[in-house]
Symmetry: C2
Subunit: 338 residues, 2 copies
DNA sequence: TTGAAAGCGCTAACAT
DNA sequence: ATGTTAGCGCTTTCAA
């Protein structure tokens, strides 16, 4: 088992031309089956592998998809990544995966790096900072350079490309309605992701549900916290309003933290305080009490994103851009009443 | 912002040869600074990027590292991945990352795929199935083909390559001792990873601690569970032994599950039953009570693995293979006595 | 200081 | 059925 062998070496071995070997290995009709057989057999036993990087030169597609994800420690993105990975591998695509770590600059650099290697397409969920700064030049440039992009979850609508999202408005709407239906009178919303598109949409859904039930929206019940604010203190201030009996948390970290604070404050859950959270990860399943969550089906989103990209790569025809919307579902657990 | 431009196009623009452009962009001493300047400026404004895939052809290194991880939903591997990602990006390396999903076949396929693209080196943690079947031909072949490999966490000692591991024996040893010191008399071990190298080592550490304290090792207290066995039932059978007052869980999933079962059975934690678990992820921090864990410093392991590989890639000299051992630390929480 | 030309490994159009 | 050749984008020797 030595260094990789080349067409040239095989050609020399059999005293034929490189072209013959190339054709033989590609099972061309032009080559006699005798020749094909011996060459293919030789190639196999000598573990010949075509160097896919050369594909770029002559053919155009590299069977490589770039993936940029904001944060792999986030359960939703981890699931989405697994979905992308499965779908890509199944279709013979290789992934170059990177983590933007929520940083705009890193995202810009990564895209440069990725374009530098040659990829057929890109799957991305935007960094928090990118959505906050609304600076999408790196994305637009990439599209202008003819690299198809699929954005998922954290998307920017003004950019012309395929998108896969969850119906965040509807998810929050349903969750809020569920709280109302099960007896909550005064529901607060906890968001540490208000800079994100999905954060804003979820707030919309919350408001929509209240309005439809003729409950006035009170801005002070919408708790928007930045990274640097003290979560515990802020929550305690909010909970001074003893009438609050429901909490809609926009992701799981703030949900489990809120749960702890609420428990410590002596509330009974779900009787005194009901909680629903976005992100159906592991945490909500194992805390006490278990938390009712809105599942965004990360795996399925990832799969769909990869599917969409691969479809576009295969039909090089210019089908119009699509936005696939994945339905959320409510996973009922012990933090809400029946 | 159009399609990527080539050396050829720049050459045509300035009526010089491709070679001149190439040299100018590489800051060659052969080119006049005037020429260099205008070409470099033009390249910059037109966003010229060298196609790294061509690097393979002429130069040998591609600045690409392959990463194969068994399961990204596992907190430890997610952390390790982040560590690898940071270190690689910092050093200008690109990652091609794949998930073996604990499958031997997938691991074999991925390695093929990776070798097919051209990479400088590979970082891998072995799939469960690979360790169970002890089939390492794909790894050995890769090494024989001259691709440096760094294995981390789940390593195979018989393979000659760099390795980064945690001191699993010592980690389990310390944890067991901590349980003993805080009053536990009869400690059971819960492993759902007995097919893994790390699982076996942790059992060793547990036994070592017992022996040093003159406590007989009882095999029936070592609970080895496969994927298909019913965890709850098995645990309940074990807990029929009412004298058990300590639990050493070899990873966090079984720890939180055990915790729930123990709580339901009416034990007081940590008074009636103390628990320590490997894997310092999010779960142990948020369950009730919080679980004392052994941190394997995933991030640092990943960083070290990448560091080790990059160092080897840079010094093409054949330094002997190293095994870096990262120390574990005990994070004390509420599931153990003081 | 610049350029011509070979070549990296491969494919594809065009001979033979 | 097989070979010749050009060329993908780039680097690198060698020549001018």
């Amino acid at each position: 088992m030595e260094k990789r062998i080349t067409l040239k070496q095989i050609a020399t071995t059999f005293n034929v031309s490189i072209a013959t070997v190339s054709k033989a290995l590609n099972d061309s009709y032009e080559i006699s089956s005798a020749t094909k057989e011996k060459i293919q057999h030789y190639a196999k036993t000598h573990n010949y592998k075509t160097k896919s990087s050369n594909y770029n030169l002559v053919k155009k597609n590299t069977k490589t998809i770039g993936v940029i994800i904001p944060n792999i420690m986030n359960n939703f993105f981890a699931k989405a990544f697994v979905g992308i990975e499965n779908e890509a591998t199944e279709n013979g695509y290789r992934l170059i995966s990177c983590i933007s770590n929520e940083s705009h600059q890193k995202e810009v650099d990564l895209i440069e790096l990725l374009k530098n290697s040659t990829l057929d397409g890109l799957i991305i969920s935007l960094a928090e900072e990118t959505q906050r700064r609304k600076d999408f030049n790196h994305i637009k440039n990439t599209i202008n350079q003819g690299i198809p992009i699929v954005m998922f979850d954290r998307v920017e609508n003004s950019i012309p490309c395929d998108k896969v999202v969850v119906n965040d408005i509807e998810g929050a709407f349903h969750a809020t309605n569920h709280l109302l239906k099960t007896g909550c009178k005064r529901i607060a919303l906890v968001s540490i992701i208000d800079s994100l598109s999905v954060g804003k949409l979820r707030v919309e859904g919350y408001k929509k549900a209240l309005i439809e039930s003729n409950i006035p929206v009170e801005e002070k019940l919408i708790i928007r916290l930045g990274k640097n604010e003290d979560f515990d203190t802020s929550m305690k201030i909010v909970l001074a309003d003893k009438k609050i009996d429901g909490l809609l948390c926009l992701e799981e970290t703030s949900a489990v933290k809120s749960l702890q604070i609420v428990k410590k404050a002596g509330y009974k859950i779900p009787e005194d305080m009901a909680i629903i959270s976005f992100t159906n990860g592991e945490l909500p399943k194992y805390v006490t009490p278990t938390i009712t969550t809105i599942s965004q089906h990360g795996n399925h989103i990832g799969k769909t994103a990869a599917e969409t990209l691969i479809k576009r790569l295969n039909n090089s025809n210019n089908t119009p851009f699509s936005t696939r919307i994945i339905k959320t579902s409510l996973i009922k657990r012990d933090s809400t009443k029946n």
